[in-house]
Amino acid sequence: MTAVAEKPQADAGEIPSFEVTMRIARFTPEDDKGVHWEDFTVTMHGTDRVLDALHEIKWHIDGSLTFRRSCAHGVCGSDAMRINGRNRLACKTLLKDLDISKPITVEPIKGLPVEKDLIVDMEPFFDSYREVMPFLVAGGQEPSRERLQSAEQRERFDDTTKCILCAACTSSCPVFWTDGQYFGPAAIVNAHRFIFDSRDDAGEQRLEILNSKEGVWRCRTTFNCTEACPRGIQVTKAIAEVKQAVIRGRV
């Protein structure tokens, strides 16, 4: 009786599995092969993400495959990579949502120097992040309790607080690809977060920084950043708001 009841239950709960080919851009600084594609075919399940396929390869096929990941749940922003030509988080991209009849290409994000396989040097990215002073600068007397803010004041910069610094936006920007001198969308988003914060007093300094030659004016409004953002931040809109603030000379 129990055996009969269990069988259809197991069928219903069965997760479909499929073969998928991962075409990964490999690069090892020590050998002279340069960047080259390597295909791995793995059996994955319908609930698996690209990150799971990379784990499968690293843990069971080729331990030398190198990539960053920390939380693996779309919060830490470590595993941004170019999947089928688009910047995504490997941990938020389900394999079943991609075309698994063809190989899935996985490359490191563009515009930053590759260190090994899918790992890039993030320092240039964080350098421009640091330059916009991404911390609260408040003048006047230190209050003895919290710095209060109304719900409307908080709403003003709510969108840009969601950034996880994964660099998907900056490394999708064609202006950043050319010479890497442009501040990049991520730095501007994080400047926006403080410029429009009612508790912050250094908005004008940040606007001055972003009014430089490599600042907001290099943005060509191609919307690549908005499309790439795994948190759904309206990046191009935030940049446009900073441009408006620079023109008006105040927040």
């Binding site: 050319t178 010479d179 920084i209 009014n211 430089s212 030659k213 004016w217 060509r220 023109i247």
Partner: protein
């Protein structure tokens, strides 16, 4: 023993991006592109409407038509504005493209030099033509000239 003390930067000093030049030039250029773009839409469509739509349309354009138009200061200013704004707007657009896509410093410099040269030559030539244009050249066939040339 060298005193290798780790220096902590003064927290009140501002972060400085290396090679920060041309402070507000980029902002002015950005605003100019928006302003001139809007104005050019009016100028260009007005120009097309008057030349190709009114009167005989495209068949009416000849030496006399152009000579007649440039006899009026209104059309001189209209065409001058169109020439200057069009070339500076276009030239500035190509300048940003060169800045974005030319990788080497020398390539960038050569391309920009060529661009500026072409823009300046065209603006000077066009301006000269608009203001020194003679609608009634001596010894020309009178039927080809604007009507006000007789006598």
């Amino acid at each position: 023993m060298s005193t290798s003390t780790t220096s902590i930067p003064d927290p009140t000093t501002r972060y400085r991006r290396t090679g920060q030049r041309g402070l507000n030039a980029e902002m002015l250029s950005w605003m100019f592109m928006r302003g001139s773009g809007a104005l050019l839409v009016i100028l260009v469509f007005g120009h097309l409407f008057v030349n190709l739509w009114l009167g005989d349309g495209v068949k009416g354009i000849d030496f006399a038509f152009v000579g007649g138009k440039w006899a009026s200061p209104f059309w001189q200013v209209w065409d001058l504005l169109m020439l200057w704004l069009g070339l500076i707007h276009g030239g500035n657009g190509v300048r940003t493209i060169i800045n974005d896509y030319a990788r080497g410093d020398r390539t960038r410099m050569v391309l920009k030099a060529l661009l500026y040269f072409a823009v300046v030559v065209t603006i000077v030539l066009g301006t000269l033509v608009i203001f020194t244009f003679d609608p009634c050249p001596v010894g020309a066939e009178p039927s080809l000239l604007p009507s006000f040339c007789e006598g």
